[in-house]
């Protein structure tokens, strides 16, 4: 849906550009709002990249087993004083 919205806004903006400057501004405002949503998009991107990195490491068979991210994070929290995993 988000991608569709982005495409739609892009399409709209191209046409509006050809018309009036005022309309361009309006669309630009929408783009700015969309830009604000990009932070969320970024989180998804980073998560995707992280997963991709994990699978690359796996395929290379060069690093430790999977699930280590969770395990390590729990271990780090324990080292920081968390009393039990998941509750913290």
């Amino acid at each position: 849906m988000k991608r569709f919205l982005q495409r739609a806004l892009g399409w709209m903006e191209r046409h509006v550009f050809a018309q009036t400057h005022a309309q361009v501004s309006e669309i630009n405002e929408r783009l700015e709002r969309l830009g604000a949503r990009l932070d969320e998009v970024q989180a998804v991107v980073e998560a995707t990249a992280a997963r991709a990195a994990t699978s690359t490491e796996h395929s290379l068979s060069m690093v430790e087993a999977d699930a280590r991210t969770t395990r390590r994070f729990e271990e780090i929290e324990r080292l920081l004083g968390a009393t039990e995993p998941g509750i913290r």
Binding site: Q42, V44, T48, A50, V63, T69, R72, R88
Partner: protein, 791 residues
């Protein structure tokens, strides 16, 4: 003439639960105290990796003789002069297959070539491997340790029995093994009435009743079950006695002894006290009718002499070291024969003359068994060691500086991985370097650099054995192994970014929203206790940029236990100070110089001052992320009327975002995303680029490896990176903030003015030549290996 040899004694046995409060912990504490009194203690060393010590002798601590064992401490001790040997008084600690054996073997002392002294307490596991070494891995590990013990320059033993075992089982040279014996603490004295109240309160059911005492444990070797049966026979024979078992017993062993007592008809006469302190133990010795040690094997048998010192005769098995400790054959019995055990107890209870003879012999032996006598015998053995080893063995060793660099290495870790590798390549040869990474297979590293898998760091390699451990950190979940090690084994933190929320956000990407919010809230509260920006962090959710904007950097978590911080710019140093607890003490923060890859000797500055046709190949190098604002770069390219190419890995969703933006601006034919490229293609783009444009949205204090590489390649750089503003006037075209028209204006101006591009290119290359990686490596190593203050 060798000065009196003094010992640096490893006291870590007092840091291991289950050992500190047992015979071996008491032995080590008593012996070390006496060595100090005899002037033979250089230092008592604790392992920084383990728990705080339990039962640490106060006079050692207050005299300043207790130190944390480390390479720095070793250097200080050896620099003080004198002849020093390293003493491992509990050499069989950590012998499980996955235990950190390196804690015992201590590489920095081994590498220093210092003479090694060990104390051998027994080799019972080698005599009964089926019971004590359950798997081949256990057996291998124990045998390896035993072989290491056998190569010590001097082996001290607690008894003649243990000495014979060392010679027979370890094939030690008899001249190398010296019996120094065992001391009885002066705390154990005959009854003086002062502890009656304690005893009556603690064991009210035994008030005025005679009892047999044994110091037991959850081990069939101790023979406690047979003793229960023997006491049953004694009671059935008409004696009125109870049996008190002192010591820590597992639930299973409590059940086994209760069953044995029921079978013997003395269930109501068995008292199991659990673990006790010295006060209660002495009170028991003083009141017991007799103390019995029915063990099948002991390296010494301290309860026998402690009991005698308290005025109570002791009976013991006619085996192993117990024969020596029992002092007289009248006090021994065959521990495999219940009838014999019962007979010995009945005899001593009924025959005062026999009691007197046994007690007299044992008290004589106890009186001669003081820790000062043990220390005196140790001093004699050390003097002999001083004479037997060549003088060179006691001279100051020449130890190379040792440094571990922990962090990602290529092919992992992106820019930081590459940076780490280049630092290793640039390091001076007089420093011994090890790289520690999550890679299991050893990567291709410069000659002389060792590799240790992160999983083995602390197990097979000892962090304290380095002059410094440097942890390189960035802001992604790929740095979790480094963070875990840095918290476990504190060292120097090299922060390539000084805001780290992405570490948590990406590591928690698999959590649902509720778990994510809870875990992040915990981390935020833990980072900023009492002043946590909880609401702002909750609103930021999974957005890294919003978390940074909310003031969440998480630096307090990683910096609370480190030796110091290293950053790449003054900007980063300022940002570090803002994230740490205000008005509080912080670790030192050092700024490292930037480093550029080598500039090709044939490279010439781009563009001609006289002007050439303006090529408009503008490139953004490196991994594409929203933090680098690809959307604004597309806008700027549209306004400047140039091409823009993103060279580097780009997640599919950002390819989409860039494409949409280009369509919106009507410049799809001028925007290219290459995705991941190999080294040759990367260099090709470096050669083709007219300008490099590198943007950052948030201030994380990071240095851009792409900027530094562009400078080496002579590519003029337009950037808003605050750190790049420190490179000196004219090295980069610096723009504060992120504003598309301003960026576009600067790009256009540079494309239109080749002389300016030429000047930037030449300045960038000059900067790169002045900032090679060997200069960075030299600075880094001199900071982290500077002598540390005493522990």
């Amino acid at each position: 003439m060798i000065p009196p040899v003094r010992l640096a004694v490893d006291l870590q046995v007092l840091q291991v639960e289950g050992f500190a409060d047992r015979g071996i912990g008491r032995y080590v504490a008593g012996h070390t105290e006496a060595l100090a009194r005899a002037g033979r203690l250089a230092a008592a060393l604790l392992a920084p990796e383990l728990s705080p010590p339990s039962g640490l002798p106060a006079e050692l601590a207050t005299a300043g003789l207790v130190r944390w064992d480390s390479m720095g401490e070793l250097r200080r001790l050896l620099a003080d002069g004198g002849a020093i040997a390293h003493h491992v008084p509990a050499p069989f600690l950590h012998t499980g297959p996955t235990d950190p054996s390196v804690l015992v073997t201590v590489p920095h002392w081994a590498d220093a070539g210092v003479a090694r002294v060990v104390t051998l307490h027994d080799l019972i596991p080698l005599r009964d491997p089926d019971r004590y070494l359950p798997t081949p891995a256990h057996l291998d590990r124990y045998r390896a340790r035993a072989a290491w013990v056998a190569t010590a320059d001097l082996v001290l033993t607690n008894s003649e029995y243990t000495r014979r075992e060392a010679i027979e089982l370890l094939e030690c040279d008899p001249a190398q093994v010296v019996t120094v014996g065992t001391g009885v603490s002066p705390f154990f004295t005959p009854a003086d009435g002062t502890d009656q109240e304690l005893f009556d309160h603690w064991l009210p059911t035994l008030e005025g009743r005679p009892f047999v005492l044994t110091v037991g444990g959850s081990d069939a070797r101790k023979g406690t079950e047979r003793l229960v049966a023997a006491v049953g026979r004694v009671v059935n024979g008409g004696a009125d006695v109870h049996l008190v078992v002192v010591g820590d017993l597992t639930a299973d062993w409590r059940r086994r002894l209760t069953d044995a007592a029921r079978k013997a008809g003395v269930e109501d006469r068995l008292v199991m006290t659990g673990p006790v302190g010295d006060d209660a133990l002495r009170a028991c010795y003083r009141r017991a009718a007799v103390t019995v040690t029915p063990s099948l094997a002991e390296g010494f048998g301290l309860p026998v002499l402690e009991s005698a010192a308290c005025g109570t005769p002791a009976l013991a098995s006619a085996t192993t070291a117990l024969v020596e400790v029992a002092a007289t054959a009248l006090a021994t019995f065959d521990p495999t024969d219940t009838e014999a055990v019962a007979g010995a107890i009945a005899d001593v209870l009924a025959d005062d003359g026999r009691r007197g003879s046994i007690l007299s012999a044992q008290r004589d032996l106890a009186a001669r068994s003081t820790w000062d006598v043990v220390a005196s015998r140790t001093a004699d053995a050390l003097d002999e060691l001083g004479r037997s080893l060549p003088g060179a063995a006691w001279g100051p060793p020449s130890l190379r500086r040792r440094v571990a660099l922990v962090g990602p290495l290529p092919p992992l870790g992106g820019g930081i991985g590459l940076y780490n590798r280049r630092v290793l390549e640039g390091a001076p040869s007089d420093v011994a370097l090890d790289a520690v990474s999550a890679l299991v297979a050893a990567p291709d590293l410069p000659e002389g650099v060792g590799h240790i898998s992160a999983a083995a760091f602390g197990i097979d390699a000892r962090p304290a054995s380095y002059d410094a451990v440097v942890y390189t950190l960035g802001n992604s979940h790929g740095h979790l192994p480094t963070i875990e090690l840095a918290l476990r084994y504190p060292g120097w933190l090299w922060l390539h970014e000084v805001r780290l929320p992405a570490v948590a956000v990406t590591a928690l990407s698999g959590s649902d929203d509720e778990d994510f919010a809870r875990e992040l809230a915990w981390l935020v509260e833990r980072s900023y206790p009492g002043r946590a920006p909880t609401g702002a962090a909750r609103r930021a959710g999974r957005s890294v940029l919003a978390l940074i904007d909310a003031g969440v950097g998480f630096l307090p978590l990683v910096t609370e236990r480190c030796r110091g911080l290293l950053v790449n710019s003054e900007v980063a140093r300022r940002l570090v100070r803002l994230d740490l607890a205000p008005l509080a003490h912080h670790p030192p923060v050092h700024v490292l110089p930037p480093a550029c890859p080598p500039v090709s000797p044939t490279a010439r500055p781009r563009a001609s001052p006289e002007g050439d046709a303006a090529d408009d190949t503008v490139v953004a190098f490196g991994v594409v992320s929203m933090a680098k604002r690809p959307d604004l770069l597309v806008d700027a390219a549209a306004l400047a009327g140039c091409r823009i190419t993103f060279v580097g890995p780009c997640p599919p969703i950002l390819v989409q975002v860039i494409g949409d933006r280009a369509r919106a601006r009507g410049i799809t034919d001028r925007v290219t995303v290459t995705g991941t490229v190999d080294e040759d293609e990367w260099q090709e783009w470096m050669a083709r680029a007219t300008l490099a444009v590198q943007l950052r949205d948030a201030a994380s204090g990071e240095t851009s490896a792409a900027v530094l590489e562009s400078l080496s390649a002579g590519v003029p750089v337009v950037t808003n990176l605050a750190t790049a503003a420190e490179y000196g006037d004219g090295t980069v075209a610096h723009l504060p903030g992120v504003d598309a028209p301003a960026i576009a204006g600067r790009i256009r101006a540079l494309l239109d003015h080749p002389a300016e591009r030429h000047r930037l290119s030449a300045a960038g290359m000059a900067f790169a030549r002045a900032h090679p990686f060997d200069r960075l490596a030299e600075t880094l190593l001199s900071i982290v290996t500077a002598p540390e203050p005493p522990s």
